[in-house]
Amino acid sequence: MIRTAKTRERNLNTPLWPANYRTGMWAWTFHRISGLALSGYLIMHIIVISSSTAGSQGVNFDKLLSQLTQPFFLALDLLLWAAVLYHTLNGIRVLLFDAGIGVRNQKVVFWGFMAVAVLAWIAGLVLIFPFIMGRPPVRA
């Protein structure tokens, strides 16, 4: 016996320590986080939209909207887009498992859906980038 420490040492040899997570545990953790984020967004969204009834002729709402289309908020929209994509696609993945599809290849299914998510996110980035840079494309 080398030593006996009677103190509570930091125990990282536990399945709750992220280094010990496997694919499914990460998928589930991010599903929870993105779910909470989307719920928070939804509440904000309802507050913002319902503010259109305040003030006369929607003047305040116009002001608010012009604030929310500033580059900073447009960049935040990209975060929202990422959360929506992740939550949707991982949700479909879990539904497929419930339907008996792909349970034995869950990691492949996960990374397949993540590839779709990345492509869709990049598409969103390409669409919103001119607006962030303050150069909205001219419409014919």
Binding site: M1, P15, D98, V103, Q106
Partner: protein, 241 residues
């Protein structure tokens, strides 16, 4: 040059004496082909007679010595030491289960859940003189579930078990499907009833920790998903209620 000794870092806890668990470190000299269980037995034999752990068959059949070793659920008897080196070998008891002493955990909740799914043949028909016949194809269908040795690795790995003491846990579901999918069994309805509720399969969040934890490489989640579908079909058959 191969290492001739390994460091074992083992979580110790005696609820009657200690207020908190702590780690004790042992230096184990290696022999060829040694498993973690061999190391534990050496420690018990030569260094510290107070170390408590469960083990019986040494051949990955009894499921007594499942532990949390270096970030994974493993059977100590089925885990060679050499591939784990040069890291020290950190051993914890099955996580989130009540510790009786050191690596020995209270398995009562696990067995209670197992009992709830009626893990025995239900078939009111009189048994034929020789055997209840089952075709090789039907037998193959439950092959995977029969491999389970009830080591509780999956049970201890499941986040739903950690958070809900009423949840039956993956092993019980796997064994439930072992009978539900068995062509000789007729207790499907009662078993589906025993698992098809809020604290049954529907608490499962498809985290796949059970499948990752299984030392027998059983896809536990597959059985749980199959039970979910059976449960729905059973609910839809209103004329049978």
């Amino acid at each position: 040059m191969p290492q001739d000794s390994a460091i074992f870092k083992i979580q110790r806890y005696d609820p009657e004496v200690d207020t908190l668990p702590y780690f004790t470190t042992y230096n184990v000299s290696l022999r060829k082909g040694m498993t973690v269980l061999d190391g534990l037995l050496d420690i018990l034999d030569q260094q510290d007679g107070s170390l408590a752990f469960r083990a019986s068959c040494r051949g990955a059949v009894c499921g007594s010595d499942s532990m949390y070793i270096n970030g994974a659920f493993r059977l100590a008897c089925n885990t060679a030491i050499v591939p784990l080196l040069p890291r020290e070998i950190t051993i914890n008891p099955l996580p989130y289960m009540r510790i009786v002493k050191d690596l020995v955990v209270d398995m009562d909740p696990f067995w209670t859940a197992y009992e709830r799914i009626k893990p025995y043949l239900i078939n009111p028909e009189t048994a034929p003189e020789r055997e209840r016949y089952q075709s090789p194809k039907d037998r193959k269908h439950i092959d995977e579930m029969l491999d389970c040795i009830l080591c509780a690795s999956c049970y201890s790995s499941c986040p739903m078990v950690w958070s809900d003491s009423e949840f039956l846990g993956p092993a019980a579901f796997l064994k439930a499907y072992r009978f539900v999918g068995d062509s000789r069994d007729q207790g499907q309805r009662e078993r589906i009833k025993a698992v098809g509720h809020e604290n049954g399969v529907w608490r499962c969040h498809t985290v796949f920790n059970c499948t990752e934890a299984c030392p027998k490489k059983i896809n536990v989640t597959w059985s749980i998903e199959a039970l979910k579908r059976r449960s729905i079909v059973n609910r839809l058959k209103f004329w049978q209620r």
